[in-house]
Amino acid sequence: MGAASDAARATGSIAVPPAPRAPASPLRVALVGNPNTGKSTLFNALTGMRQRVGNFAGVTVERVEGSYTGADGRRVSVLDLPGAYSLDPHTPDEAIALDLLAGRADVPVPDVVVIVADALHLERNLYLVSQLIELGLPAVVALNQIDAATKRGLQVDVVELIHELGVTVVPTVATKGEGIDRLRQAIARAPDLPVPSRRMPVPRVAEQALRPVEQALVDDGVPPAAAGLEALLHLTAPGTDHGPAVHAAVVAARSQLLDAGLNPESLEAELRYGWITGVMHRTVKDPDGQEHTTSDRVDRLLLHKVWGMLIFLALMGIVFQAVFFWAAPMQEAVESALGWAGTQVGSAMGEGDLQSLIVDGVIAGVGGVLVFLPQIAILFLFIGVLEDSGYMARAAFLMDRYMRTVGLHGRSFIPLVSGFACAVPAIMATRTIERPRDRLATIMVVPLMSCSARLPVYTLLIGAFVPAMHIGGFLDLHGLVLLGMYLLGTVSALVVAFFFRRTLLRGQTQPLILELPPYRIPSPRALATTVFHRSSLFVRRAGTVILALSIVIWALATYPRSDVPDGIPDEAVQEMQLANSFLGRAGHAIAPAVAPLGFDWKIGVSIVSSFAAREVFVSAMGTIYGVGGSEDGAGLPEKLRAERNPETGAPVYTLATAIGLMVFYVFALMCMSTVAISIREAGGGWTGVRWAAVQFGYMLALAYLGAWLVRIGAGAFGWA
């Protein structure tokens, strides 16, 4: 305990000095390490949580807390952190780990640092390890991915490594849960062990040159245990958070080092890697050398200028094809189950408002959205495969050239692809981008990537209005139109980014530096959990927000009840009542605004009600046509096809209307959560609000313009 509180006091100098804690208080542990070493996998294994895992650097971009109960009954709270290559952060996500360790975060400095190192890339990992053990905090090294290292023929002498590092080293296989119990024991014991300290030798000249800097840092409030580390960091990255005395000392030290023939910029790297080379030599046996021929051969093809691109496009084509083909049978099953439920409830309950609420509001609204779950699950499955196989980083590298021409960064590619699932995590993923302007440009265009919430809208309209036509090969017109919508979004994202980089966000794009992870065969179990987890989020949304909105929309579409003259057909009565309802009146007020796009009031009102969440468009349509229409049992697509303009008798929905509507949804930013996250990630405060407003505004303008152009274009060709 003594060592722990010493260390906490030492490094937490900036934070509140920790009061002597009762032994019952939880032990605070942080997982720190290079990106893609398996911190989140380890976190999941320790706490039983389901954090996102993926085979590329930068999966975790925020701090996540979980906990477990140790063998001695003590609570252990665990923090999963974004990966970092060194303690000198370059990106917002890397800064999160550092801020925590330096006591700048809003939670106290951890009692134990679990340094996660990847046995496959131990040499590079040891750089950060060597920095972390100099922090003077109790530490444990989890030597993860031992299985992968063994498979490649690497043998790590763990006992020798413990001896070299001066901290406990526990070999683990996080994916299989191996070594987790031993890691827990090591964590529990760590606070009672002597704190680790610097292991690498520093030449006498350098030591002498740095001593005044260390002294100045200590005088400035830096804990003595970490002063050596800080001094080295200051040589390359002169921080601004220390006083002029430190600055002067750094300048003096630099010139002293230069006189001695040392390069202050690279001193730290040379010292650390010099030591690491020795450690590697003594601890790791690598009989085969670092040859990975299979991976290289795959890369030759996948990173080829022409073939690589073609393969990438083919992969995307297959994804969208599969979204339609594979999902169709499942979708039909869900649909017929819902239809059956509707008729059962309808006949069991007898006529009345409650029956209408359940059948037209809940089943037609929520069910209408749930029907698309199979499609969404398949999309998630494909994204999961891309993420886990290691292809994502390759695609980013491949795309860097093209992204650069529009002023984006190769790293922007990963957030853009994640945007196919959901814009919220995608915008968070931009934290891996170094320069604020590169990052902001990416944030501004991410919502143009068609997210899974648009899928219900696209699928409904394509299924109802695009003829099912086989084109040849594995291509089908449905899949092709869907692919077209996704491409429209993607291409516009690039074009818009180009405009932003030329106007509001001028500046040089940062060159690419990216680690390519080894290829891995995605484990079916991990994929299943990812798909299940993401799909259940979708279902939960349908069961909460969308359910509530559906009921509200139903009420608005049903009341006030108006008197209708006798003697007119049933269907006309319902139409009239709908037109006189609150929703109908609002719709007629909106109608002129959407009339230029060729949309009627029902579409208009559905669009407006979907401003908070796009799926609500589908549920609103379901409710409106459920309340209005009378042909029970018919699905929404049939009802849409049958809809006639009351005055002219012409069909309300043509192919052109459907395409216009889809184009509208490609562009419009109708998602409350995205707006909120944009505000935060674009800088928070009024800055964030302003950027989010710009984003919302330009997307709405594009949506309106796009839908209008479709109408005009279709008219010119005589389709409308």
Partner: protein
């Protein structure tokens, strides 16, 4: 089920749903306001 009971249930459900939606909107506004005050790691500046 008597028409009165039906009406009561409908009113309750609709009111509940409306309250839920209102609460959601309220929460997101409050959150946006909180974010505005405590800007974290911004894209336009450093991360402190």
């Amino acid at each position: 089920m008597s028409p009165v009971a039906q009406t009561v249930i409908v009113v309750l459900l609709v009111a509940g749903a409306a309250l839920y939606v209102a609460r959601k909107v309220w929460l997101s506004v409050a959150r946006a306001r909180r974010e505005r005050n405590a800007a974290g790691c911004g894209a336009d500046g450093c991360c402190k």
